[in-house]
Symmetry: C2
Subunit: 411 residues, 2 copies
Amino acid sequence: MSIKQITGARCTLCGHVSEAAPETTVCPKCGGILDIEYDYDYIKSKLNKYELMDREEPSMWRYLEFLPVEGVGRTPRLRVGGSPLYKAEHLAEAIGLTGSLWIKDDGQNPTASLKDRASAMAVVKAEEAGKTSIACSSTGNAASSLAGNAAAAGFSTFIFVPSRAPKGKVAQLQMFGAKVILVDGSYEDTFALSAKAIEHYGWYNRNAAINPYLMEGKKTVSLEIAEQLHFQMPDYVAVSVGDGCTIAGVWKGFKDLFAAGFISRLPRLISVQAEGCCPINTAAAQHTLEWTPQEENTLADSIAVGVPRNPIKALRAIEESNGVTVNVSDEEILAAMRVLGRTQGVFAEPAGATGTAGLKKAVETGLIEKSASVVTLVTGNGLKDVANAIKAAGEPLVLPPDMDRLRDVLG
Amino acid sequence: MSIKQITGARCTLCGHVSEAAPETTVCPKCGGILDIEYDYDYIKSKLNKYELMDREEPSMWRYLEFLPVEGVGRTPRLRVGGSPLYKAEHLAEAIGLTGSLWIKDDGQNPTASLKDRASAMAVVKAEEAGKTSIACSSTGNAASSLAGNAAAAGFSTFIFVPSRAPKGKVAQLQMFGAKVILVDGSYEDTFALSAKAIEHYGWYNRNAAINPYLMEGKKTVSLEIAEQLHFQMPDYVAVSVGDGCTIAGVWKGFKDLFAAGFISRLPRLISVQAEGCCPINTAAAQHTLEWTPQEENTLADSIAVGVPRNPIKALRAIEESNGVTVNVSDEEILAAMRVLGRTQGVFAEPAGATGTAGLKKAVETGLIEKSASVVTLVTGNGLKDVANAIKAAGEPLVLPPDMDRLRDVLG
């Protein structure tokens, strides 16, 4: 199979370019993470932005020419992408921004996180590779999105999670019919067992650190943001950062559009991590690719990644975009959850609100100008983590059924 | 203000037609629930189905001519509606249906339930009525959807819930900044206090049993189903039933399209209730409007309504459609959650899967023909009720990090 818009897969470490096959994982020379490269002249010859705007397809697959696939496969699929971009005037006012602000609510995906974009891509590539079973090792949104998207396609999934995984997330996996293997050991033990099993059974490998196509799915969030803004770019895009795959995907999407002439300038990234776990921002602030592992001290579990799996792509993205780094406390994350809910009716999980927490701090500390135009990305729905929502939201008023008492309280 | 497509509000009890003002609640003559009536010739003069299909608006407001509003108001709003309709071949096979089957996944709304359609309407009507505060009394999806949609618009909400309400749902309300009043008493006490407070403070009243506009919001789910099927109607639409407002709204949508000439036949309704709480189905099976209160013995909390608030509209809808009634056990509801998740990647809360449980039973018992074409409506997302998801999904495999042991188990 030859996918005409792809020219190859370039290693992020040694620069070697290899062929991009459906089952391609790391660099055949050095084991580095690969980056899919495109022929932008070919893309331009097939699509312009006005043709794109006339398309009816509402999902991420409306951007087919920018994606590393020949088609969307023959299996049924969930409707991934097409999430709303809200103009957020109340939020802008609340955080002191006088410029335009938008919220991209990717918690509105089928399994309620941005990870659906990567998992939908994994299912299509697995089908191209002739596989019907897909595996990954994860405790969070990547696992549940893979399980959901694979179930729709009729593929089986094998998900390895450490036995300490929260019951609710395990229940989601079970509900989608994944074969869930709870490993009585550390996350490292779990990952190692999954790697052996994937090799032994020949399952398709859905791991963002291994599989270069997943970022290509994630980048569709940027293609959508650009189109929803009629290709007029904002000054900044605020993104929460864990293992680095999402911010790298966000940047790839904008760069692709720029290279193909769909947009005339690139936004700057605001990279937001939790104070208790910020290895990427620490390195980025020093403009180096040399990062140091950290402990994982934050309640935002989806971005509690002390040993990021995609640091190089993330660090290059922040550097290339002339980006800004901000670290926020757990209290600032909970406050961002509240302000998103109260001013805009958007309910985010902690990691999903972290970009907004960083944006608020960047405005307050003068890191970015108050008049800037910004898109803040919400990566996951708050219903995924009700315990922390309760922590953020506070206790309600309890009253007897008595009108006089109510009047005493409400005035 | 005059809304040209509306001719008035007819009482479902005494038939009296009154003017439909934004703040209209029950019949001024007898206190009965009202039904908004339309001038279908006017609607036809303004819109045909081909013009509709060319519209870009992706939300429920694309059907403006069929709705009891002049416009969508000036306040910001969440993107409600436009939920996916999935062709569900794997599910059809699993339940023994040889005809075409589709899932309408309304758990994909902003606050994760179909109730967003009603709450979005309530916000627009509140604005028309010149109110900036909206109140309701509820413990479930109606409350959280009102809180979310009102927050986006910048309106304040007052939500009265009995103090036994689950913490997670209360947290959602708090997150959206609702003034939550936990009433230390029964649901009746709670409702009574809210009624007094609404009168005293002059808040806009969002109660499906009182406010005739809410059903008009809910009916947009049928307008979408019809358009997504290119106006070719299925034989049946399966709907879970609690207080009766949703099935009545579903039917109103199809009747409107029929009256305006957009569809040439009406589907039959499959009305599904829980065995432990089925007052509407009990009356419907006897073709009478005389229903008897029942206890509320089901884990599907959203449809555990022993004293339905909208029985007449629901019973008339089932009768007019030559409908089918099915009651299902809690075990059948949990099984439907599993089969939806495993065959199609759709995660439903118990009440959200109840329609599908009833469809399965209707096929198995020969109540409907195996070759029928059916749409099954999923009304809410499973992330709303993780405890019952765990109940449905079973326990995963626990293993030491040992490849030999894994091979023993997986083969």
